[in-house]
């Protein structure tokens, strides 16, 4: 539906896997940051005169 492939991530992480969680979150944030801001699926409030 027009979201770039690198913007959506899935992972299985157990509550006991703290290090894996940190790694995955770091990877995800880096990957998404590299894509830049997502401009499409953002609702802008109507401009009031």
């Amino acid at each position: 539906m027009g979201i770039e492939p690198g913007r959506l991530h899935f992972s299985w992480i157990s509550s006991a896997e703290a290090t894996k969680f940190v790694d995955v979150v770091t990877q995800v944030t880096d990957a998404v940051r590299a894509l830049g801001p997502h401009e499409n699926f953002v609702k802008h409030m109507p401009k009031v005169a």
Partner: protein, 315 residues
Amino acid sequence: MVGYIDKIKEISERLLKEGTVEMVIGFQKGTLPMMNTPCFAKTPEDVGNFVWDSHCGINLANYLTDRKEKIGVIAKGCDSRSIVTHITENKIKREQIFVIGAPCKGMMDRHKIASLFETEIRSVAENDGKLIVTAGDGEKTLEKADLLQKNCAVCAHRNPVIHDELAADPVEDQKDVDRYADVREIETMPPAEKWDYFDDLFSACIRCYACRNACPLCYCPTCFVDESQPQWVGKSTDPIDTKTFHFLRAYHCAGRCTDCGSCERACPMGINMRMLTKKLEKDCIDAFGWEPGLDLNQRPPLDTYKMDDPEDFIK
């Protein structure tokens, strides 16, 4: 197909007279041409109102949700699959329903027919594979085969999958239909192009929710779009709100949609929201080999776990 009606009436009348069911759900003439509406026959006399022609596109499974009485229902291929889905999802019991099967060769696309005329259509008659349409600017005889609803043109299950009695002999299923040519086309688009495609697709939406109301799967007591505490999605026709509604509704139908086309048929703006549900249908076939509503004994893919589930997308 017009010939079915005598048999439908005969079965319905018998069921009501014998008390096998308390109500038979069928179709009656609508107030506008090509818009047959559901008809709830509770007495043998009511059955006289029943009609059956190529404008019975509404999915009657929609009227079975949480009913407590015994009901007779007329079902085309797609309706019967939605009925199976209803039974699997505990929305009605198999013993409660008497399915009058109506093998179907496809329903007419009312949007397409209307687009062929400048003025309002006054009457539509059908005869031997042809439609005789009368509008303010004259009369035209059209081939039914050219005017099928888009989902009917690529239908692969024309005969009811469950039935207690058939109103006619089963029809031959369409072989070699390419159900997903249009979906594949969109799949190949780059993200930005996809976004523009859906932006354009839903730009005409007026948020009337006719698609949701006509959908036999949308039976939640309160739809997420109607909730206000919390308010999941804005209620305006803001393009983002509109798309959120359509995307989420489609996801709620994942692995359940039988492509009956009720949503598209109901839409006053002629929006092809089936592009979303079809993609999910295709994904379900590709990932789980699943087609909804074909078997009463099979659990849906989203509530089963298999060791060999494809999980390539999970890291």
